[in-house]
Symmetry: C2
């Protein structure tokens, strides 16, 4: 699928204003509402647009602690990777997880109600591969820039 200027504008608009009405979106990209809706449907079906999320202001909702975690495996076998990934997946408190190249193997972001609960999760992750995993915890002090979408203008040439 090749993306023309209009579809790119749909993507970048929806990315940041997911609840915009189809009519307003159609206006902005210069299409009739029916054509615009058609495009959005196709982008969804093609899997370019995924789920729609609301940003929550967590501090206003409840107390919580947020921790960024670096992980190194001593045994870098495929099995060890898979085992650790599954452990990360299974914890709802692990809200993000990446495998990376470089001095670490994983980065996680963990959100827990308090430090005690965070510590339990930390222990459980250590227990998955006893003695074979190295974890460093970094408590988030401030969110300088929360994720609000990708910089499509910079990623796609000739916008």
């Amino acid at each position: 699928m090749q993306l023309d200027k209009i579809s790119r504008k749909i993507l970048s608009t929806l990315q940041q204003e997911a609840r915009i009405t189809n009519q307003e979106l159609a206006d902005r990209v210069g299409l009739s509402p029916s054509s615009c809706l058609n495009r959005v449907r196709k982008l969804e079906e093609a899997g370019l647009i995924g789920p729609y999320l609301s940003t929550l202001n967590l501090p206003k909702i409840c107390r919580s602690v947020e921790v960024i975690v670096t992980v190194s495996l001593k045994d870098q076998s495929t099995d060890a990777f898979r085992t650790f990934q599954q452990a990360a997946q299974s914890h709802p408190e692990v809200v993000e997880c990446y495998t990376v190249s470089g001095t670490f193997d994983f980065f996680l972001r963990i959100v827990a109600p308090d430090m005690m609960r965070y510590n339990e999760i930390n222990d459980q992750l250590l227990d998955v591969l006893p003695g074979m995993v190295n974890i460093s915890s970094h408590v988030v002090l401030t969110t300088v820039k929360p994720f609000r979408g990708y910089p499509l203008d910079e990623l796609i040439d000739g916008e």
Copy 2:
């Protein structure tokens, strides 16, 4: 503002299905559409619900590289922190940025069209506080778990 069971359910539902219709939402939480809309409005006005985002499947849209970056400042003065924060803020490619406690001062997530461009950004971040900042880059190999909202059930007691 104290959140009752219904408002919590509204939050957790909207968080993951931001484009749900108000009628469907009202059904699920057991309110009439008008009352439900009222609640949502109040949650928005109170700032508990922020912007609505669409997740994009970036690999299907364009080529890109994603890098997680750890940063340590040699000079940990308030000014140095502020300077580096502003630099991070000003780059659209820096899609996330946190200050943390522990062995690092910042974590960043950077998305660029290619390595060459990433390298430029990296250099620019280094130049902000010459010789005073230590940056390590970790190219993302796989996204094990993308962010899809907070685990409200685990964060709020008595759900």
